[in-house]
Amino acid sequence: MDLRAGDSWGMLACLCTVLWHLPAVPALNRTGDPGPGPSIQKTYDLTRYLEHQLRSLAGTYLNYLGPPFNEPDFNPPRLGAETLPRATVNLEVWRSLNDKLRLTQNYEAYSHLLCYLRGLNRQAATAELRHSLAHFCTSLQGLLGSIAGVMAALGYPLPQPLPGIEPTWAPGPAHSDFLQKMDDFWLLKELQTWLWRSAKDFNRLKKKMQPPAAAVTLHLEAHGF
C-alpha cells in the first residue's frame, strides 16, 4: 500500500488524537463510567481531521474539474444540487436545536453526503482521484459510525432512511456534464460546511457533557503534559 502525503498527515493526526486522549482513557479516569464525553470528543476530533483531509481532496478534485472551478474566487450560484443537504442554517434555529435533533441532522446529512461521494468516486476518471475519494469515503464512514455511537450512548434512535430519497448517485439524462460539475463543486462545498457545523455541534455537545471536576483536572494536567 502506498502512502501519500495525506495518509501520513492522517496518521500524524491520529497519533496526536491518541496522545491527546490518553488521559481520557477510562482506566485513567477515576470517575467510573465515562459517559458519552469521550466518544463526543472522538467524534469532534474526527471531524477536524476530516476537515483537513477534505482540504487536500478538494484541491485535487477541483483541479480535476478544471478552471474556473479551481479558481479561488469562483463562487457559483447553487444551481441544481438541490438534493444535497444544506448545512447553512439560521443561527437562532441552530441554537434552538436539541441534542437529538442536532445529532440526527448530522447523521442524515453525512449519510447522504457519503452516498453522493461514492457516486463521485465511481465517476472519477483517474485512478488517483478514485483512490483519494475512496480514502475519504472510508473516513467519512468512520465519522458516521462515530455519530451513531454518540447517539446510541445518549440513547437516541438512529434515523430511518427515507424511502423517497434514494441516496444513490444516478445522473439523469438531463444532467449535463456542466451541471454535474456544479453538483460536485457544491457537494464538496456542502461537505466542508457540514464539517464546520459538526465541529461546532460536537463542541457544544462536548461542553454540555463535560465530566465532573476531577476528570477535568486530570484532563488539564494531561494537556499540560
Binding site: 480535476y64 474539474l65 478544471g66 478552471p67 474556473p68 472551478f69 479558481e71 457559483p76 450560484p77 444551481l79 465517476q123 476518471a125 483517474t126 485512478a127 438531463a174 449535463s176 456534464d177 456542466f178 460539475k181 456544479m182
Partner: protein, 1095 residues
C-alpha cells in the same frame, strides 16, 4: 418584349447597313424609313402589342400581349397560328396558352375586334423568344436536429410536368436571426426525370440552432437541353424557419459535445438577462450578440481537453450557465498488435493504443477484436484513462483452427481505426512458466527432471531448455524436444553429470517452432549420489632423517576424482618378503610413517569413500644415488618458477619435483609435483611461495626401481634486497692503507642470491660525514664494487696518513642494495715524511746562509764600496777642529748626559755669535715649551740649545722611531745629504758647535721673514736658531699623492731623517685644514695610525 415582334423590314435595314450608298441615296432611304415607322405607329395604335410567351413546363407556352390603345373590356381577340390548321382561337383575354410550338418561326396573327373596329397584328413567334421560368418551388418540410445543429430541408421537384430529363439547379438560402442575415447560400443540382421527386438537403450549422431562428428559402433553375429559349430562375419559395422552444433548464449550447482538437466551434447562451462574461476554461472570449440577450462565442482551433473536459461559462448578473466540451482525437491505429497463446487454449492479443485520445470514461476508445474466419469477436472496453501501456484482450481459441485473421478496431465518438494480423497460432506459442519442477536421482551420473506445464500442447512438440549450474563451475544449457501433452507433467532424464556434485537445475520451454521462451522455472538444487573414487591419491615418500622410517605423503583427491566424501585411506608397503599395511587412516590425515629396513618396497595408497575404494596409487621407496649432482640457482617469474631439464631416456615413469623452504629442517618437503616422463620442464606454482625466501627444489626421475635425485636447485620466487648489512671490521691500518674484513650474511637475511658488495670510502670525520649521504655522488667518495662474493677482505691503499676515513659496506642482490654499515677509521701517522719535511727546509736555509756568507765575504770590497763608502771624517775638517776638542772632553758623557753637555759652553759660544741672548733664555725655559706640542718643539730645542748630537740622539728615539733599520737609514741619509741635525753618530757631536755657530739650514734665509709672519707664535724660536729643512709650505704642497711628490726635492723630504719624519708630522700646523687633508690622503700608515685616536 420587342424582340418577339419580328418584321421583315429590319432585315432589310440590316442589309442597308451593309451597303455602301451615295449620300443623296441615303437621304432618300432615311426619309422612307421614317415614313414607314410613322405608319407603323399609327397602325399599332389600332392593333395588339407586345406579345410575350413564357413556359414553366416546356409543353405549354403562355403568351400574353397588350391590348390596343383605347380598347378596354369587351374586346375580342382572334389569335391564329398561321402554319397550323384549325389553330385559331377566339377569346376575350389578352393571354393564351398554346401548346409548345416546334422550333422555327411561327407567324401569329391577333385580330382584335372592338366596337366593330378590328385591327390585325402579326407576330413572328420562335421558341428562342420564349422564356422558361419554373414554378416557384415549395418547401415541404424544414426540420432541425438540435443536437447536431443540422437543418433538414424537404421539397418536391414536380418533375412529372416536364417532358424531358433536365438538369435542375436548386439554390438554398439560409438566413439567421430575426434580421435574416444570410449565413449560407448553396446550390444543389438534381435532374428531372419525369416524376415528382422529394429532395432532401441538410445543412450543419456552425452555430447551435437553439440560439437563433434560422430561415430557409429555395428557388430553382431548369437547365433543359431541349429548350433553346431563355431560361430564368424561379422565384424564391416562401420562407420556412426553425427556432428553439426552450423546455429545459439548459441555457448553453452545445451541451457535452465531443469534437476534434483543432476544430472551430461556436457556443451560444440563451438568456433573458444580459450576459456579462463568457469564458472557456479560464480564458475570456468576446461576445457575439444574437437576438434578444442571447450571445455566442466562437472558439478557433480548440486545444485538447483535460480529463473532465473543457468548461465554457457564461456569466450573467445572477447566474452562471455553462457547458463542457471534450476536445480529443479519434483513436490512433492500434500499434504493435501481437497475438500469441500461452496454452493453445486462449489467444492473448496485445497492442499499444498509440496517441492518447484525451477522451476518458464513457468517451474513451472501445476496441473490438474480430476474427474473420470464425466470425467471432471480443470486445475490450477501456474505462481507464488512456495510457501508453499495452492493452490486452483474450480470445478463446476455436477448435481445429490454426490460422486466425484478427482485425482490431478501435472507435470513439470522433472516429475509428483498425489494424489486422494474420497468424498461425501453433507458431505463436509462448508457454507458461513450468511449475512443480522436481529432480530425482537415477544414478551418480544422471537425474530425472519433471515439471508441469499447463496447456493443450498435444498437437505440437515442445522445445525445452535446461540450465545446469555446477557448483564452483560454469553453467551448461541443454535443449531437449519432447512431445506435448494435455495439461500434464513432463519428464526428462539428464545424464553426463558428475557424482557427488551439487547441481542447480532450471527449465524453460517453447514450442518446437520457436516463438518465445517461457520464463525460467524455479531453480532446484540437487546433489548427485557418490561413486567410487576414480583414481588413487597423488603420493610421495621421504625417508626420515634417521633413515629408518619411511614417511608416506599423499594429497587429498580432487573433488572430480573423489566422487564422494573420502572417509579413509589404506596404505600398504610391500616387498618381496613382506607386506606392511596401515588401514583406515581417517581422511584429514594425509601422511603415514612406517618403519622399514632399507629394502625396496612398493608403497600403495588407496582412498575410500562410502561407495568403495579408489585404484591404488603406487610409489617405490628406493632412492637411487646420484654422484653427479650440482646445486643450481633459479629465480622465478611472477609467482611461478620454471624448471627445465634434459630428457633422460632412463626415466621410465614420471618426474617428481619436490620443494621446500631452505631453512626448513629435514625432511624437507613442502609440496611435490609429478610431471609425465616425456616432459622436460615444469612450472612450479604455489600460494605458499613468498618473495625473498629461498626454496630448495629437487628434481627426481623415476625408474623402475625407484627415484633418483637428478637436480638440486635453490631458487627464489622473487629476489629482494638484503635486510642486513655485512658485518665488517678493520683488520689493519697503516699510514696509507686500511684492511677491511667482513662476514657473510645469513641466507634468511640475504633474501636473494648475493651478487656482490659495494664498498664506499671517503675522508671524513664522524660528525661531518653523517651530514651527507653516500648517494649524493660526491666526487670524493670512492666506490669499490666487489663482485667476487667469496672475497671477504679488502685493502684500501693510497690513503693519507693520520686522516679519518668513513667506510661503508653494503651487500646487494638482484633485488637491490642492502642497508649500509659504516665505520670511521683514522690512518696512522707518517714519521719519515715528517722528518724529511723538517730537515729539507733547514738544510736549504743553512745552504743559502753559507752561500750568502761566502758571497758576501768574497765581494765584501764591492759591497763596502757600494753600500758603505768612506764617509769623510769631520775630524779632518779644520773648522770643526776645536769643537772636537771641546767635545772630546765630554765624550764619555755622550750617552744621555744632558747636564755634562750643558749649554754653558754653548752659551759661551752663543755669546760669541750674533744671536741675541733673549732667545736663548726663552728657548731654555721649559715653561714656554710646554703648551706647544712636545714632539714638535723638542728637536728644535735641542738644535737650538746645544747642537749637541748626543742630546739629540737621546731625545729622538723616544717619540716614534723604534726600528733599528730606521736608525741606520737615518744615518745613511744623513751621510748622503750631509745633513745631520738630529741623528748622529757619536763622532758628529763635535760638529754641533760649528753648526750652531756657522752653519744654517738651507731654508733659513728665504723663509725667515715670511714664515715668521704667517707661522704661529710658537715658532718664534725658529727664527733664532735651527730650522728644519722641511718647509711647511712645501709639505703642504708637496704631498706624496700629488704629482710633485716625484720631485727630487720632495724625495729628499720624504726620505728625511727619522726626526724629520716625526717632525713632519708635528710640524704641520694643526689649524691648517689643507695640510690635514693632504696628510690624510697621502700619509698612509703612520698617518693613519696617528690620526686614528683622534677619530
Amino acid at each position: 418584349m420587342d424582340i418577339s415582334l419580328c418584321w421583315r423590314q429590319p432585315s432589310g435595314m440590316v442589309g442597308s447597313k451593309r451597303m455602301r450608298m451615295p449620300a443623296n441615296f441615303r437621304w432618300l432611304v432615311a426619309t422612307f424609313v421614317l415614313l414607314y415607322l410613322l405608319n407603323q405607329v399609327n397602325s399599332q395604335k389600332k392593333g395588339t402589342r407586345d406579345l410575350k410567351c413564357t413556359t414553366n413546363n416546356l409543353q405549354v407556352w403562355d403568351c400574353s400581349w397588350k391590348a390596343p390603345l383605347g380598347t378596354g373590356r369587351g374586346t375580342i381577340y382572334k389569335v391564329c397560328i398561321e402554319d397550323r390548321p384549325r389553330s385559331c382561337h377566339q377569346l376575350e383575354k389578352t393571354n393564351i396558352k398554346i401548346p409548345a410550338l416546334s422550333p422555327g418561326d411561327h407567324e401569329i396573327t391577333i385580330n382584335s375586334l372592338h366596337d366593330s373596329e378590328s385591327s390585325i397584328s402579326t407576330f413572328m413567334l420562335n421558341e428562342k423568344n420564349v422564356s422558361l421560368i419554373p414554378d416557384t418551388p415549395e418547401i415541404l418540410n424544414l426540420s432541425a436536429d438540435f443536437s447536431t445543429s443540422t437543418l433538414y430541408l424537404k421539397w418536391n421537384d414536380k418533375g412529372s410536368v416536364f417532358p424531358h430529363h433536365s438538369n435542375i439547379i436548386w439554390e438554398v438560402k439560409v438566413l439567421r436571426k430575426d434580421s435574416m442575415e444570410l449565413v449560407e447560400l448553396v446550390t444543389y443540382n438534381t435532374t428531372l426525370n419525369g416524376r415528382d421527386i422529394v429532395h432532401h438537403w441538410s445543412w450543419a450549422s456552425d452555430m447551435p440552432l437553439e440560439c437563433a431562428t434560422h430561415h430557409v428559402r429555395i428557388r430553382c433553375y431548369i437547365d433543359s437541353l431541349h429548350f433553346s429559349g431563355l431560361k430564368e430562375w424561379s422565384d424564391w419559395s416562401p420562407v420556412k424557419n426553425i427556432s428553439w422552444t426552450s423546455d429545459s433548464q439548459t441555457k448553453v449550447f452545445p451541451q457535452d459535445n465531443i469534437i476534434l482538437v483543432g476544430s472551430d466551434i461556436t457556443f451560444c447562451c440563451i438568456s433573458q438577462e444580459k450576459v456579462l462574461l463568457a469564458q472557456i476554461g479560464s480564458k475570456n472570449c468576446p461576445l457575439i450578440h444574437l437576438d434578444g440577450e442571447n450571445v455566442a462565442i466562437k472558439i478557433h482551433n480548440i486545444s485538447v481537453s483535460e480529463n473532465s473536459g473543457t468548461n465554457v461559462i457564461f456569466t450573467t448578473e445572477d447566474y452562471i450557465y455553462g457547458t463542457v466540451i471534450f476536445a480529443g482525437y479519434p483513436p490512433d491505429v492500434p500499434q504493435k498488435l501481437n497475438c500469441e497463446t500461452h496454452d493453445l487454449e486462449e489467444i492473448v492479443c496485445t497492442w499499444n493504443p498509440g496517441r492518447p485520445t484525451a477522451l476518458v470514461g464513457p468517451r474513451s476508445t472501445n476496441y473490438n477484436l474480430f476474427e474473420s474466419f470464425s466470425g467471432k469477436y471480443v470486445r475490450f472496453k477501456n474505462a481507464e484513462v488512456p495510457t501508453n501501456e499495452s492493452y490486452r484482450v483474450l480470445f478463446k481459441m476455436i477448435p481445429n483452427q490454426e490460422i486466425y485473421n484478427f482485425t482490431l478496431s478501435g472507435h470513439n465518438p470522433l472516429g475509428q481505426s483498425e489494424s489486422t494480423i494474420l497468424i498461425n497460432i501453433t507458431e505463436r506459442v509462448s508457454p507458461h512458466t513450468p511449475t512443480s519442477f522436481r529432480v530425482k536421482d537415477i544414478n551418480s551420473n544422471a537425474v530425472t527432471l519433471s515439471w508441469h506445464l499447463s496447456g493443450s500442447f498435444a498437437k505440437i512438440n515442445l522445445l525445452c531448455q535446461i540450465k545446469i549450474n555446477k557448483a564452483n563451475s560454469g553453467q551448461e544449457l541443454r535443449n531437449i524436444t519432447i512431445k506435448g501433452v494435455e495439461n500434464s507433467s513432463y519428464r526428462v532424464a539428464v545424464d553426463k553429470l558428475n557424482p557427488y556434485t551439487m547441481y542447480t537445475f532450471r527449465i524453460r520451454c517453447s514450442s518446437e517452432t520457436y516463438w518465445k521462451w517461457s520464463k525460467w522455472s524455479n531453480e532446484k538444487q540437487h546433489l548427485t549420489t557418490e561413486a567410487t573414487p576414480s583414481k588413487g591419491p597423488d603420493t610421495w615418500r621421504e625417508w626420515s632423517s634417521d633413515g629408518k622410517n619411511l614417511i608416506i605423503y599423499w594429497k587429498p583427491l580432487p573433488i572430480n576424482d573423489a566422487n564422494g566424501k573420502i572417509l579413509s585411506y589404506n596404505v600398504s608397503c610391500s616387498s618381496v618378503e613382506e607386506t606392511q599395511s596401515l588401514s583406515e587412516i581417517p581422511d584429514p590425515q594425509h601422511k603415514a610413517e612406517i618403519r622399514l629396513d632399507k629394502n625396496d618396497y612398493i608403497i600403495s595408497v588407496v582412498a575410500k569413500n562410502s561407495v568403495g575404494s579408489s585404484p591404488p596409487s603406487k610409489i617405490a621407496s628406493m632412492e637411487i644415488p646420484n654422484d653427479d649432482l650440482r646445486v643450481e640457482q633459479v629465480v622465478g617469474m611472477g609467482k611461478r618458477i620454471l624448471l627445465t631439464w634434459h630428457p633422460d631416456p632412463n626415466m621410465t615413469c614420471d618426474y617428481v619435483i619436490k620443494w621446500c623452504n631452505s631453512s626448513q629442517f629435514e625432511p624437507c618437503l613442502m609440496d611435490w609435483k609429478k610431471v609425465p616422463s616425456n616432459s622436460t620442464e615444469a612450472i612450479i606454482e604455489s600460494d605458499q611461495f613468498r618473495p625473498g625466501i629461498r626454496y630448495n627444489f629437487f628434481l627426481y626421475g623415476c625408474r623402475n626401481q625407484g627415484y633418483q635425485l637428478l637436480r638440486s636447485i635453490i631458487g627464489y620466487i622473487e629476489e629482494l634486497a638484503p635486510i642486513v648489512a655485512p658485518n665488517f671490521t678493520v683488520e689493519d691500518t697503516t699510514a696509507d692503507s686500511i684492511l677491511v674484513k667482513w662476514e657473510d650474511i645469513p641466507v634468511e637475511e640475504l633474501r636473494g642470491f648475493l651478487r656482490g658488495y659495494l664498498f664506499y670510502f671517503e675522508k671524513g670525520e664522524k660528525d661531518a660525514s653523517q651530514m651527507r649521504g653516500l648517494e649524493s655522488g660526491h666526487s670524493d667518495i670512492k666506490v669499490k664494487n666487489i663482485t667476487d662474493i667469496s672475497q671477504k677482505t679488502l685493502r684500501i691503499a693510497d690513503l693519507q696518513g693520520k686522516t679519518s676515513y668513513h667506510l661503508v659496506l653494503r651487500a646487494y642482490t638482484d633485488g637491490g642494495l642492502g642497508p649500509e654499515k659504516s665505520m670511521f677509521v683514522v690512518t696512522n701517522e707518517n714519521s719519515v715524511g715528517l722528518i724529511i719535511a723538517i730537515l729539507i727546509p733547514v738544510a736549504v736555509a743553512v745552504l743559502i746562509g753559507v752561500v750568502t756568507s761566502l758571497l758576501c765575504y768574497r765581494k765584501r770590497e764591492w759591497i763596502k764600496e757600494t753600500f758603505y763608502p768612506d764617509i769623510p771624517n769631520p775630524e779632518n775638517c779644520k773648522a770643526l777642529q776645536f769643537q772636537k776638542s771641546v767635545c772630546e772632553g765630554s765624550s764619555a758623557l755622550k750617552t744621555l748626559e744632558m747636564n755634562p753637555c750643558t749649554p754653558n759652553n754653548v752659551e759661551v759660544l752663543e755669546t760669541r755669535s750674533t744671536l741675541p741672548k733673549i732667545e736663548d733664555t726663552e728657548i731654555i725655559s721649559p715653561v714656554a715649551e710646554r703648551p706647544v706640542d712636545s714632539s714638535d718643539v723638542e728637536p728644535e730645542n735641542h738644535v737650538v740649545v746645544s747642537y749637541c748630537p748626543p742630546i739629540i740622539e737621546e731625545e729622538i728615539p723616544n717619540p716614534a722611531v723604534d726600528e733599528p733599520g730606521g736608525t741606520s737609514q737615518v744615518i745613511y741619509i744623513d751621510v748622503q745629504s750631509m745633513y745631520q741635525p738630529q741623528a748622529k753618530p757619536e763622532e758628529d757631536q763635535e760638529m754641533d758647535p760649528i753648526v750652531s755657530a756657522g752653519y744654517k739650514p738651507q731654508m733659513r734665509l728665504p723663509i725667515n721673514s715670511t714664515v715668521e709672519e704667517s707661522a704661529a707664535e710658537d715658532d718664534i724660536d725658529k727664527t733664532a736658531g735651527y730650522r728644519p729643512q722641511a718647509n711647511v709650505n712645501t709639505w703642504k704642497l708637496v704631498s706624496p699623492d700629488s704629482p710633485r711628490s716625484t720631485d727630487s726635492n720632495s724625495e729628499i723630504v720624504s726620505f728625511g731623517s727619522p726626526c724629520s719624519i716625526n717632525s713632519r708630522q708635528f710640524l704641520i700646523p694643526p689649524k691648517d685644514e689643507d695640510s690635514a687633508k693632504s696628510s690624510g690622503g697621502g700619509w698612509s700608515f703612520s698617518n693613519f695610525f696617528q690620526n686614528k685616536p683622534n677619530d
